[in-house]
């Protein structure tokens, strides 16, 4: 018996000029896992924020169990049995699991018998859904995967019937993803309803029974998952057909262009994050560096690009030493030597948000001719160059005078990518090249990287997206706890094997 638990009718929401949601109609059936898929900026998160009561819709109605409700705040939605697991967890780091869960309910349960009852209830919930969470552990001691379970447990305890998960797998290892999916399936077995927001097609195919596709604020398709496939979904998301697996010729490997020997790097808190790492990248090769976020990749990239001091070890570019513990070339000097760096956290590091687009398009190259001469900026030349670049990389809108913060996330990324790739670097360090980029742009970026490789560039690709590492790299190394724990030739390796290496168990 299929009955709708959550119904949305003609939901509209705009921010200023931008209509984030247009006439959304969506029915979610009880006891299903319903996927919502779409590119960045398609309006998925806005829609779910409306359902969770964070935003109010401009118009439209929401029904829970076929009764119309008004949602003014998350408190209302929790009362109606809607729970949300956010992309960024809302947990107090130095509290225990139990304290976090009763937070907001203290008045009722913090003392005496009631707290004991809460504990029993929670332990029962843990058992039913095999969540396996220890109520007394401190949040900061838990891995990301477990923190996510705490969020799920919190929603369960508050009586959620519908669980909204916003991009839940972005920060997990493949093993953790498997565990999460098990939990979600057991929730479904118990009659709970799950709304899974994602841009990953695999997850939709693996987990969901129904899927809705959003594009530019509208729901453009609804289907049973069994009746569709990855290619069809991708096409619906983008509005045209998309190449999912990149066409890649065999590599013409040249000499070693970039070499790292016994590198050790500390972070700002003086914790050693990169431990005795050695790497070699050949010209005409993409070396993939896989690993779960926070295992030293960020510090490694920063050290290689001259941003961070090297504790010990040496770095060589085309056989010449560029960094050791005594001195290192700064990022600008490295750029002059043909080393480009696309930082992981681009909005934070790669751009100045309060600059105009054209100012960001020469950022880091601003003291080179023709962009400046004897310290005077050559505005006309910069503008001509910017227009050309924005055209070539399809940055929208094509207005170099627009403030960078007024571009969408994906277009901000394109500003950086175009800047760094256009200088045809000999060595390219790329961190998370497609994080936050939509699927149409991913295809474009991947093709660019392959083109650069074919022209003889040595590329280091750091990514937490295993699929990306697998589809682009010629060789793969895995980083765990600051160390390189394995090296594989791409064609001989499985996701499973890499996943185990990433988790540090192999």
């Amino acid at each position: 018996m299929v009955s709708p638990i959550l119904q949305l009718h003609n939901i509209n929401k705009s921010f200023g000029h931008v209509q984030a949601n247009k006439n959304i109609n969506l029915t979610i059936n009880k006891g299903t896992i319903h996927g919502i898929i779409g590119e960045n900026g398609a309006g998925k998160s806005t829609l779910m924020s409306i359902v969770y009561g964070l935003y109010q819709a401009d118009s439209g109605t929401i029904k829970v169990n076929e009764k119309e409700i008004k949602l003014k705040s998350p408190k209302d939605s929790i009362e109606h049995g809607i729970g949300m697991v956010h992309q960024h967890f809302m947990l107090v780091e130095n509290f225990t699991v139990l304290e976090n869960i009763v937070l907001g309910f203290e008045g009722e349960v913090i003392f005496g018998k009631k707290l004991e009852k809460a504990k029993t209830d929670l332990n029962n919930l843990c058992k039913t859904y095999s969540l396996n969470v220890d109520l007394n552990s401190i949040i900061s001691d838990l891995s990301v995967g477990f923190r996510q379970r705490v969020e799920i447990l919190k929603s369960l305890y508050r009586g959620a019937e519908v669980f909204i998960l916003d991009e839940p797998t972005g920060v997990l290892t493949p093993q953790e993803v498997d565990e999460l999916f098990k939990i979600l399936r057991s929730l479904k077995e118990e009659g709970k309803t799950i709304v899974l927001i994602t841009h990953k097609l695999n997850e939709i195919m693996d987990l969901t029974s129904e899927v809705s596709v959003m594009r530019q604020g509208e729901v453009v398709g609804h289907t049973k998952t069994d009746h569709t496939n990855r290619e069809k979904l991708a096409e619906m998301m983008v509005g045209r057909s998309v190449l999912l697996r990149i066409n890649k010729s065999k590599t013409q490997r040249g000499d070693v262009a970039f070499k790292v020997e016994n590198l050790t790097v500390k972070d700002d808190l003086d914790v050693t994050r990169v431990k005795n790492v050695s790497l070699e990248i050949h010209a005409g090769e993409i070396l993939g560096l896989a690993g779960v976020t926070g295992n030293g990749q960020t510090e490694l990239l920063e050290a290689l690009s001259g941003i961070r001091k090297v504790e010990s070890g040496e770095i060589f570019l085309n056989g010449k030493k560029i960094s050791d513990s005594v001195e290192h070339l700064n990022p600008r000097e490295l750029k002059e030597k043909g080393l480009a760096h696309i930082p992981e956290d681009r909005q934070r590091m790669g751009l100045v948000n309060d600059f105009k687009a054209y100012e960001n398009l020469i950022f880091g190259y601003h003291d080179q001719e023709p962009y400046s001469k004897s310290s005077i900026m050559k505005e006309h030349k910069i503008l001509d160059y910017s227009k050309k670049l924005m055209e070539e990389y399809d940055v929208r809108p094509r207005s170099p005078h627009l403030m960078t913060s007024n571009f969408s996330g994906g277009n901000q990324q394109k500003l950086i990518l175009s800047r760094e790739l256009n200088e045809s670097p000999k060595i390219l360090l790329v961190g998370q090249p497609t994080r936050g980029v939509d699927i149409g742009a991913i295809e474009f970026i991947h093709q660019r990287l392959i083109d650069m490789r074919d022209k003889g560039a040595a590329i280091l690709l750091v990514s937490v997206e295993l699929e990306e590492v697998l589809s682009l790299s010629d060789r793969i190394v895995v980083m765990f706890d600051g160390k390189i724990v394995g090296e594989r030739i791409n064609k001989d390796v499985s996701d499973r094997e890499l996943g185990l290496l990433m988790a540090g168990v192999a």
């Binding site: 200023g16 600008r332 590091m349």
Partner: protein, 372 residues
């Protein structure tokens, strides 16, 4: 979320003209209320302000004289602010700048006068910059906040100058804490002399050629901040230090450069005061211009084109305000300090109070026009 405005759709004149004007009007309304409570007629007071600052030529010249000082200190604050440094030490930097002017002028008096002027300007700039250097260094290398260090350096400058003016460089023939006068041929051409050329007779006016220097400094700042590599790098460090490091731009270097230029510009105030008005160093000549410069810069949105009218506005308030205090016994000098405070409050601290409403109102209105 109803007040979220798509910034790219807001016309420049709304955010840069309408919003400041609304803030200013509100500030003046509140000030009028103060005057009313003090027992005077606000309408009369405003008439007096306008008469005092525009009504007769000496008054207008005074307005421009104050404007000159505010342009220097406003530009000084703005340059540092583009590197996100709150240089509130303009007062001390101007004071020490005066020492530079005097020492240079008195020691090179044998040279032709225009060269003495140029060297004195350099002296003012270098001494002001030097006084800003120590806080800059402490900020760049040690992370000591410039707000703390520059304000302390104001007090140090003040004490140092009092010591020098009493014990070292005082004109020993008299008792007051000031130096001997510079030779008359070195005095900057005054507005009085200029007016005399056209047969206009003026009793006294402090307005002098420094006003032109202030305008030149405005162009210099505009060019520096928006057209040169240094300005580009300073703004990059100011807006996003991490990104600057990524791009190989040194925050240390740029913090120091921005503070040196800022201190130097504040130092130029002493060209007006020492070379143009007093022709010697008198104790306490910066008289709060350094602090008012902060408000001028904030109100002018740290852009020379905004700083000029803001400086002029404060010039009107200073000059018109003193006119009011002469004629209205219930209104003291401090009343106008309060009025300035209200203006600073509305155009600085509460700058964004009505911005979203005003901007979204205009955006909606313009959209309707487009649709219609």
């Amino acid at each position: 979320m109803s007040t979220t405005v798509d910034k790219s759709k807001v016309p420049w004149w709304v955010s840069n003209l309408i919003v400041p004007l609304v803030n200013l009007t509100l500030a003046l309304l509140v000030s009028a209320l103060f005057i009313f409570i003090a027992g005077e007629n606000p309408y009369q007071a405003i008439k007096l302000i306008i008469y005092g600052s525009f009504g007769y030529i000496e008054g207008f010249a005074y307005t421009l004289y104050y404007t000159t000082n505010f342009i220097f200190t406003g530009l000084a604050f703005a340059v540092a602010f583009h590197c996100r440094l709150f240089n509130i030490g303009g007062e001390g930097q101007a004071y020490i700048g005066g020492l530079g002017v005097f020492l240079v002028a008195i020691n090179v008096s044998f040279l032709p006068v225009p060269i003495v002027w140029i060297l004195s300007i350099a002296g003012a700039f270098i001494f002001g910059a030097a006084w800003a250097f120590i806080p800059a260094y402490l900020q760049a290398k040690r992370g000591s906040h410039v707000v703390i260090t520059t304000i302390m350096f104001n007090f140090i400058a003040s004490s140092l100058m009092v010591y020098l003016l009493v014990d070292v460089i005082r004109d020993m023939k008299q008792m007051g804490p000031h130096t001997v006068a510079l030779p008359e041929e070195m005095w900057l051409p005054s507005f009085k002399d200029f007016a005399a050329l056209f047969g206009i007779n003026i009793r006294y006016s402090p307005l002098n050629a420094s006003f032109l220097l202030a305008i030149a400094a405005s162009f210099f700042v505009w060019y520096l901040v928006w057209k040169t590599k240094w300005g580009y790098e300073m703004r990059a460090v100011g807006h996003n230090t991490q990104a600057a490091i990524y791009a190989g731009i040194s925050p240390y270097k740029n913090i120091i450069i921005a503070m040196l230029i800022s201190g130097g510009l504040a130092g130029l105030l002493s060209i007006n005061e020492v070379l143009g008005v007093h022709h010697k160093i008198v104790s306490g000549f910066p008289a709060g211009y350094g602090f008012t410069g902060i408000a001028v810069a904030l109100m002018g949105r740290n852009h020379p084109i905004g700083i000029f009218p803001a400086a002029f506005l404060f010039g009107i308030l200073y000059q018109g305000g003193s006119e009011v205090t002469f004629d209205m016994p219930n209104i003291t000098r401090y009343m106008f300090v309060a009025v300035q405070g209200v203006i600073i409050l509305f155009s600085g601290a509460l700058e964004n109070l009505f911005r979203p409403q005003i901007e979204s109102w205009f955006v909606n209105k313009l959209n309707k026009q487009v649709e219609a």
